[in-house]
Amino acid sequence: MGHPNVGKSVFFNRLTGANVTESNYPGTTVDYTKGWMKIEGEDVELVDVPGTFSLDPKDKAEDVAVAMLHETKDAKVITVIDASKIERGLYLALEIIEEGYPVVIALNMWDVAWDKNIRIDARNLERILGVPVVPTTAISGEGIKELVSRLKDTKPVEVDDIVTNAGGLT
């Protein structure tokens, strides 16, 4: 899951060898696509969904994404965040975490964030959120292997714990 135009389809194609259309504009993907990948010898199904800003859909494409999430209660969710616009990506990630899904966060477009002089302490972010956080540049493939290897480390997190780790809400 992730916002429009953060690179979800690029990940999907890289991981499954599929040919989902990728473009540099939001709204390229309007339907879901299923594919298979191997993790440590096991076949795992992966689903590419349209981008959405929140779990409260505002168009038909976002509808598809949110419905897919709610239909697959046992899914692990790779949440792709545009690292140069991290805050609003975290909003969606928190929503998904709050619904009890185990999440892995890909801080994608790491190169763009770097160019914009935005520095993110991924390790600290991982400590606070309690889920794996991996910097990636999907287009060139950086970080993808690590992302896959960290899938097994994720578990549902109580949002209370995140609040505590962040030092409270006040």
Partner: protein, 412 residues
């Protein structure tokens, strides 16, 4: 526990304070170019230049180089004479459907001498699919993929936002519109990025009626190259007139749109080639069977006299209302099944230029192709029925209007 909206943002604030440092941002060349292509004063000339470039590459590659320079020679010079010889049963109905319906000259059966006039599935069907449509959609999708991957599309959307608001849409409607110029099927799917039912309905209807697909444009480029500009102009004008009317009568909202304009990126060869290949393959999986089947069915209906019968029946309407010659009735009826070949058929009928423009515009705004039709059905049958209603009205209203304009200009 779940958080309230406010709490969630407070938490995000805290997290980002802990983990993110924002350095000083430098204005780069990329940003400068980005701004130049979005601001109207510089952006509009750039957009026109890009479109012009797109257009001339399309015409010279697909029309001049590939079709005229190579495929016409190959098909008319070698394939047609060979298959006319090799296929058994000259003059039989199977021969007519598959190879060449031929013609009668002073009572004698003669074979056609080019692949546009043979109208067999293995001659015209194959020639249109491979010789005309393939180069057209190849170059179209290649250039589209480049524009997409560079990140130009969202900027075009921003530029055209004001204009498209007049027809109940917003800038983002340019994405389904441009996709439809390749093939209406993905165009219809792309309407899902529009927020409301009203917008999706307007968009889908306008696409199905006024946007000719790559195959049609390829054929027009081939058989009526000097009239293509006028034909497209009429289609664009129609798009806006009927969009404006639909916006007034269709209930519902047409909200503003918010868009993230992504940074410009260098397109990756790998992705561009994969995308072009995928789209062409998709197009041919859907289009080629329809093209061949359509060819065969049209020939069969001709042989059975069905098309002549309906044509004669409707001829008064065509002549009186649309101002086109009686002979066009046949091709115009056949266009229900085969839009692209209908254009080729029209081009050999004797008529004035203005009549030809009218006839080709009519073919374009007619019933969408079967694949598009099926796709629209998937998006909702109520909308499809409403769209067909609109389409019928538009064909008569706009067709009549073009005729009227011709009368006023003194050319019809």
């Amino acid at each position: 526990m779940t958080l309230s909206l406010g709490e969630r943002w407070t938490l995000i604030d805290r997290i980002s304070k802990e983990t993110v440092t924002f350095g000083k941002y430098e204005h780069t060349l990329k940003d400068a170019v980005g701004e130049l292509t979005v601001k109207p004063l510089t952006g509009i000339p750039v957009a026109i230049a890009i479109m012009y470039c797109f257009w001339s590459v399309f015409g010279s590659f697909a029309g001049t180089l590939m079709t005229d320079g190579f495929f016409v020679k190959l098909f008319d010079g070698y394939w047609l004479p060979w298959i006319q010889e090799a296929f058994p049963g000259q003059g039989s109905w199977l021969y007519a459907i598959m190879v060449d319906a031929g013609g009668f000259e002073s009572g004698e059966f003669v074979l056609s001498d080019n692949c546009f006039e043979a109208f067999g599935a293995l001659t015209s069907g194959l020639f249109v699919a491979i010789g005309v449509v393939l180069p057209a959609i190849f170059i179209f999708y290649l250039m589209l993929a480049l524009l997409e991957d560079v990140g130009y599309m969202p900027r075009l959307a921003v530029l055209l936002d004001t204009v498209l608001h007049r027809v109940g849409l917003h800038g983002y409607a340019i994405v389904p519109t441009i996709l439809s110029l390749g093939c209406n099927v993905p165009g219809v799917t792309a309407t899902r990025i529009l927020e409301t039912k009203k917008q999706r309905f307007i968009m889908m209807t306008l696409l199905a009626i006024f946007i000719p697909c790559g195959a049609q444009i390829g054929i027009m480029e081939e058989v009526v190259p000097n009239l293509l500009g006028w034909i497209l102009l009429y289609l664009i004008i129609g798009y806006f007139i009927f969009g404006y009317i639909l916006n007034k009568i269709v209930p519902g909202k047409a909200p503003e749109f918010l868009i993230d304009v992504p940074p410009y990126r260098k397109p990756l060869l790998n992705n561009v080639s994969k995308k072009v290949w995928g789209r062409i393959a998709g197009f041919f999986k859907v289009a080629l069977p329809f093209v061949m089947l359509g060819c065969a069915i049209v020939s069969l209906l001709y042989l059975l006299g069905v098309i002549q019968f309906i044509g004669d029946l409707l001829a008064p309407i065509f002549v009186g209302w649309f101002g086109v010659p009686k002979e066009t009735a046949g091709p115009l009826v056949a266009a229900f099944l085969r839009k692209d070949l209908a254009v080729a058929q029209l081009s050999v009928i004797e008529m004035t230029e203005y009549q030809l423009i009218t006839a080709v515009v009519l073919v374009s705004i007619y019933f969408p192709c079967v694949a598009t039709f099926a796709m629209m059905l998937k998006e909702g049958w109520k909308e499809l029925i409403a769209a067909i209603g609109v389409l019928t009205i538009v064909v008569f209203a706009y067709g009549g209007m073009i005729h009227l304009i011709g009368i006023l200009l003194g050319v019809a």
